[in-house]
């Protein structure tokens, strides 16, 4: 409808004429086909392909896009969908009324969404898996870039195994930067070298029920699926190994070059899931919205107040903060290096001012469980408020509470200072008073 309002009337007139010309051309081609290629057109598919193998055949759409109508006949003949024939999927098309005089496809996206229904007729399980995925969640949010079946699986050239091969895996089309990082990682190198056990995208993310493994502890579970002895092996040298596996994501150590950050997830203690973004969290500042004049993110006191507000009396589901050490970007998360190059020096994180604790985000669950991050001031990790607000996340040394350092120094000075001052006075007084010693009891 928008086109009708914004485009001049002559555009519609031209489109109508073009469509009419298309119908005439198709009719001519069909007529020629019947006479020239009777063997092909003898079958229903042959009738379709008579027109739909014509190079450059496309349909102008109301949104200005063009829908390609040419089907590569050879590819289709070799695809696993070939036995189904055209009408196996295009069930609503009948030759007498095709092509329709009035356009029934408004946009390519709308056509793709409509044809998903055809896919689910046979691929019910895969479709149901997809419906639980982040991709489906994004589609339902109106994200036009989120993939449906035909975005990943070329419907007229589907061949078994294509989506599972490193050179043709469909994920790379949208996630090119991540795929490049993966390709250079130990996983990508091994996969390309022919090791079938080395993971490809779907190995960690799922093929159709695609999820974000970095959500909560999902990544650890994904890694442990293959690296089954990882906990035991780390336990030979890493103290508190179970805790490290819970609060440190694998890439935080296995991507030494990555920028690390602390992800404080607002977590519903009853449902054991991150609280949804829709609950409305005040005082949050998106990291990408920061400017020289913008505040440096949520400060310790505001986080404390926020949690007090979320956990006000009467609220049954308490919100707690679950902290995890992550890498900053999805690209970095895929740059896994061989184990011998991973970080093993505890001081990397357990010293004051460690790089890992200079960046802090607070996360809630966005659509499909994709974490939504908000910037937080790094002081939330070292403030006295952290005892109450982020009681569950602590790295000895690295996120120590600074005010306690003053107490430690005072205690040391007090203990030694008392001994030095009191002892010196005893010596001086004894010297000047020339008194014999009479004290006898220890302290």
């Amino acid at each position: 409808m928008e086109n009708d309002v914004t485009k001049p009337r002559w555009c519609g007139w031209i489109a109508l004429r073009l469509r009419a010309i298309g119908v005439v051309v198709c009719a001519i081609v069909l007529a020629l086909g019947w006479t020239v290629r009777p063997a092909v057109s003898a079958t229903p598919d042959g009738q379709c392909l008579t027109c739909h193998t014509v190079p450059g055949l496309e349909m102008p759409l109301p949104d200005g896009e063009k829908l390609p109508l040419t089907i590569p006949a050879d590819s289709f003949a070799h695809s696993i969908h070939s036995p189904l024939g055209c009408t196996g999927c295009h069930t609503d098309i009948s030759l007498p009324t095709h092509p329709a005089a009035v356009p029934i496809i408004k946009s390519r996206r709308e056509f793709s969404l409509k044809m998903v229904q055809a896919c689910q007729t046979c691929h019910t399980q895969q479709f149901n898996d997809w419906r639980t995925s982040v991709h489906a969640a994004l589609v339902s949010q109106g994200n036009t870039a989120a993939p449906v079946c035909t975005n990943c699986h070329s419907p007229h050239a589907v061949q078994k195994g294509v989506a599972e091969a490193i050179d043709t895996v469909p994920c790379r089309a949208c996630h090119a930067a991540i795929f490049a990082a993966y390709s250079d990682s130990v996983h990508g190198i091994l996969r390309r070298g022919g090791m079938r056990q080395a993971p490809l995208c779907f190995s960690c993310h799922g093929a159709h029920a695609v999820h974000v493994p970095s959500e909560m502890q999902g990544l650890k579970d994904v890694c442990l699926r293959c690296h089954k002895n990882a906990v035991e092996e780390h336990g030979t040298w890493l103290p508190n190994v179970a805790l490290h596996f819970n609060v440190v994501s694998c890439p935080a150590c296995h991507v030494p070059s990555a920028h690390r950050r602390v992800d404080l997830v607002l977590f519903n203690s009853t449902t054991q899931k991150a609280i949804p973004d829709q609950e409305g969290i005040p005082n949050f500042v998106r990291p990408d919205a920061s400017s020289p004049t913008a505040p440096p993110g949520l400060d310790p006191q505001t986080l404390f107040t926020l949690l007090q507000a979320l956990n006000r009396p009467g609220v049954a589901d308490k919100t707690v903060v679950n902290g995890r050490l992550e890498v900053s970007t999805a690209v970095e998360a895929h740059q896994i290096v061989p184990a011998e190059s991973a970080i093993r020096d505890c001081a990397t994180c357990h010293r004051a001012g460690a790089n890992a604790f200079q960046s802090v985000v607070i996360s809630v669950a966005g659509p499909g469980g994709i974490p939504v991050h908000y910037g937080a001031n790094k002081d939330v990790l070292n403030s006295a408020f952290s005892i109450a607000s982020i009681g569950g996340f602590y790295a000895i040394g690295g996120t120590r509470i600074t005010i306690l350092d003053a107490l430690v120094v005072l205690a040391l000075l007090g203990g030694f200072g008392f001994a030095i001052v009191h002892g010196s006075m005893r010596i001086l007084f004894r010297h000047f008073l020339k008194h014999p010693r009479q004290d006898q009891s220890k302290g």
Partner: protein, 214 residues
């Protein structure tokens, strides 16, 4: 001077193991907390040594507890319920440490088998052995295996609460260790009390205790 056998062998063993272990715990504790500033050993080594001495102190605590539970000397660790008398004694002892010791006044406390500690010592050691050390041991064990004790850790408010309590007591020990070592030089010779804790015999002057208790 009179030699009185005060410190039984189990207590002397406990004391010196405890003393050495607490010093090691304090040093490794400083190394763990201030890695990057203090780098005598690696963080991992410091943690391992800290854990070992932590368990030694815990086991040693039960040696101490068993001895006093089965011995009639347990009275040394029972609180003085005569509050006014206790306060008078504490004031007198404080006055001695603050002024008397400089003037050469006699120590108002006389050590006996069933009255080892002056009022200030008694108060300090009771708090230390019956409250502070057990809490430090418990928080240390929780920090040693946070996932194994996750339920308890969550119940008390999370790892930061546990660690903060552990660090507060750590600070108290950082004060107490040099303080205690110094006050132990206030015997009739600077090493008299150290010697007593080594061989078990206290050398005391004959006469009535000025804090009123024999």
């Amino acid at each position: 001077m009179q030699r009185i056998y005060i410190h039984a062998l189990p207590i002397r063993i406990w004391h010196w193991i405890n003393a050495f272990s607490c010093v090691m715990l304090a040093l490794t504790g400083l190394q763990i907390r201030y890695v990057g500033t203090i780098d005598v050993v690696t963080f991992r080594t410091a943690v391992m040594v800290h854990n070992v001495f932590g368990f030694i102190v815990v086991a040693n605590f039960f040696l101490w507890l068993s001895y006093y539970a089965l011995s009639d000397k347990r009275v040394n660790y029972l609180p003085n319920l005569q509050v006014a008398r206790f306060i008078r004694g504490a004031m007198r002892q404080s006055e001695f440490y603050a002024f008397g010791v400089f003037k050469g006044d006699p120590n108002p406390h006389r050590v006996t088998k069933y009255h080892q500690f002056n009022p200030l010592q008694a108060m300090t050691y009771q708090a230390l052995m019956l409250v502070v050390l057990p809490i430090q041991g418990i928080t240390g064990i929780l920090l040693w295996n946070l996932t194994g004790f996750a339920g308890i850790v969550a119940l008390v408010g999370g790892v930061r609460v546990v660690d903060t309590v552990h660090v507060l007591i750590f600070a108290a020990f950082l004060f107490f260790i040099p303080f205690h070592a110094y006050l132990s030089t206030m015997g009739h010779t600077p090493l008299a009390d150290y010697k007593a804790m080594w061989d078990g015999y206290e050398e005391v002057e004959e006469g009535e205790s000025a804090d009123g208790v024999e």
